[in-house]
């Protein structure tokens, strides 16, 4: 019963042998390698930031405020004398954890909704499509601002915003893939053997569509990180004193004339992380599933 079509086959990336092959191929792609290094750097900072940060990101030294970059403070200090480098490093954890976890939630939700829309009755499909399109009709930042205004800025609301924005995209992808799989011969064969819808979906449809979903979702991490930092920059994201990248930029912006290094250094991790994830995502996508290029 485990016949699977090559329609959405991602076997190139599945399993240990596949991973080894992918890593070998990645070595010949300089941009992909650069992306990998940047992503690993970001992950390292997120996991071990508290060990490598030179100072406590929350510690206020009023006498040291607005110190230009020096050996003691590589990225200088902000308006409260806090070490900018330590705050930037601590911000990595916030960015990656919010980005990663909200994308995981959105993927799960998108998977459930997309499978239901693609495999369920017609009315459910139409209803869900209407819902996805309504969310789609809002420009992301405007939708984010609206929700943040209504619910009040907090980490939970921010994650909620990301989930609301990202879910329809994944659900639509899964719906299309499910619709395509639904009428293939092997699914018809399993159904005629009496398999329940749940079994068909989980055991036979899901393995074929989860690979592309993971690739596409990982390519969304940069835009989610940018959205999260952007909303925080506008004062509608994570409340202070959390050393979020958007917050560092916002605080730095108010003293951009006296202390330009704060915005310069606050923007660097955002640029490097988004570039890293994009470069890595692009080359992984091309390596694992070139057909996805057309979908994205």
């Amino acid at each position: 019963m485990s016949v699977r079509p090559s329609d959405w086959d991602v076997s190139g990336g599945a399993g240990l042998a596949g991973a080894g092959k992918t890593a070998a191929a990645l070595r010949h792609d300089p941009l992909g390698m650069l992306g990998l290094v940047l992503v690993l750097l970001a992950l390292f900072c997120a996991l071990f930031g508290h060990w490598i940060a030179p100072d406590d990101p929350f510690k206020i030294h009023v006498t040291d405020r607005f110190q230009a970059p020096s050996l003691a403070h590589l990225m200088g200090t902000d308006n409260l004398g806090r070490d900018v480098l330590s705050r930037v490093i601590a911000g990595t954890r916030i960015a990656l954890s919010i980005g990663g976890s909200s994308i995981l939630i959105a993927m799960t939700l998108g998977l459930v909704l997309g499978l239901s829309a693609g495999y369920g009755p017609r009315w459910l499909d139409n209803l869900l499509l209407l819902l996805f399109d309504s969310v789609y009709s809002f420009p992301t930042v405007i939708l984010g601002l609206t929700v943040m205004t209504l619910l009040g800025p907090s980490i939970t609301t921010l994650m909620f915003v990301v989930v609301v924005i990202q879910t329809p995209a994944y659900a639509r992808l899964i719906r299309t893939a499910t619709l395509a799989a639904k009428n293939t011969e092997y699914i018809l064969a399993i159904r005629s053997l009496g398999a329940s819808p749940a079994r068909v979906l989980v055991v036979h449809v899901l393995p074929n569509i989860i690979g592309p979903l993971f690739i596409i979702a990982s390519m969304d991490i940069p835009s989610v990180i940018a959205l999260e930092a952007g909303l925080t920059y506008l004062g509608m994201g994570i409340p202070p004193p959390a050393p979020d990248w958007g917050r560092i930029l916002q605080e730095g912006f108010s003293s951009i004339r006296e202390a330009p290094w704060i915005v310069v250094c606050g923007g660097i991790p955002l640029i490097l992380t988004t570039l890293g994830f994009t470069f890595l995502g692009e080359s992984l996508r091309d390596l694992l599933d070139p057909r996805l290029r057309r979908i994205v």
């Binding site: 609206t146 929700v147 330009p260 310069v264 570039l275």
Partner: protein
């Protein structure tokens, strides 16, 4: 529209309490609730809201008591000018770049465009805006730091437009180049291009007249979708350059919890976004005879 209304009403807590703060007396809250029509049953509120919107009335600003419609219409032209300028320069640079990359495939320019487009797409536009402001307005002093220029002074307004439209458009240069390149490669491989070559037509004519005209179609549809992304970038650019516009209006109103203004402004932006779709379809129909005859 109904979704927006539902969203605003689904939230826990009385908007009147949130707006007035915890020290407001019950009488003050009651008066505000009455003014905003919040004391009536929700279905009646919804019907009233929809009728008002249909009549073009977006409500009244809670703080200044001015009509929300008037406030939005004052700021909207600024945002539209910003978005259209950004889109125009992105198209003027991105489309030729994509076209050239497709023709000279694997050349240095092609590879450079590839890296550049991925880079500019992924860098957040508000970081670009802040860096541009710091470098060109504060450090070098070529461009003004804030505002949209004096009323009636066109050169001054254009001068104020340069940096914000640069920041909003930069990501789209790469994106457009990419889309045009991919679609050009596809079109150039088609039979009618081979036929045109066989007839000995000059290469520039084939490229511009036969290939690009078809290759540009996906871009036009994409540009309608782009309005959403551009509006999002405009929110940041307007706030960073303190430029009056709908994005700045929404953020300022959101920070003041000025619900009617947020609601009205969001409604207009969503409407704008929805309006762009059929317009793009019409442009595609105008460009493509096949679509035109199907209409």
């Amino acid at each position: 529209m109904t979704v927006l209304f539902a969203a605003i009403h689904a939230i826990p807590g009385d908007p009147a309490i949130i707006m007035l703060g915890s020290r407001a007396t019950p009488e003050m809250r009651e008066r505000l609730s009455r003014e905003m029509g919040l004391d009536q049953p929700v279905p009646i509120q919804l019907v009233k809201f929809l009728t008002r919107v249909a009549e073009g009335d977006l409500g009244t600003d809670v703080w200044t008591k001015r009509s929300v419609g008037a406030i939005v219409m004052e700021t909207l032209p600024n945002t539209l000018v910003l978005i259209l300028t950004a889109l125009s320069w992105a198209a003027l640079v991105g489309i030729p770049l994509g076209c050239y990359s497709a023709i000279r495939r694997n050349s240095f320019i092609d590879k450079f465009t590839g890296v550049l487009s991925v880079g500019t797409i992924s860098i957040p536009s508000f970081v670009v805006a802040i860096y541009a402001l710091l470098l060109f307005a504060i450090q070098i002093g070529w461009f003004p730091v804030i505002g949209a220029g004096a009323d009636g002074d066109l050169p001054d307004q254009l001068w104020h437009l340069v940096l914000p439209s640069f920041a909003v458009g930069l990501g789209w240069v790469g994106y457009l180049a990419r889309i045009v390149r991919a679609s050009m490669l596809e079109v150039m491989a088609e039979n009618h291009i081979r036929t045109a070559r066989a007839f000995g037509l000059p290469e520039p004519k084939i490229i511009l007249h036969y290939a690009l005209r078809i290759a540009i179609l996906p871009t036009v549809t994409l540009l309608a979708l782009a309005i959403g992304g551009l509006l999002s970038s405009a929110v940041f650019a307007e706030n960073i350059f303190a430029r009056p516009g709908i994005g700045k209006l929404i953020v300022d109103a959101a920070n003041l919890r000025n619900y009617p203004v947020v609601q009205g402004a969001v409604l207009v932006t969503v409407g704008l976004f929805a309006f762009a779709m059929p317009v793009a379809d019409l442009i595609v129909a105008w460009l493509d005879p096949r679509v035109r005859s199907a209409l």
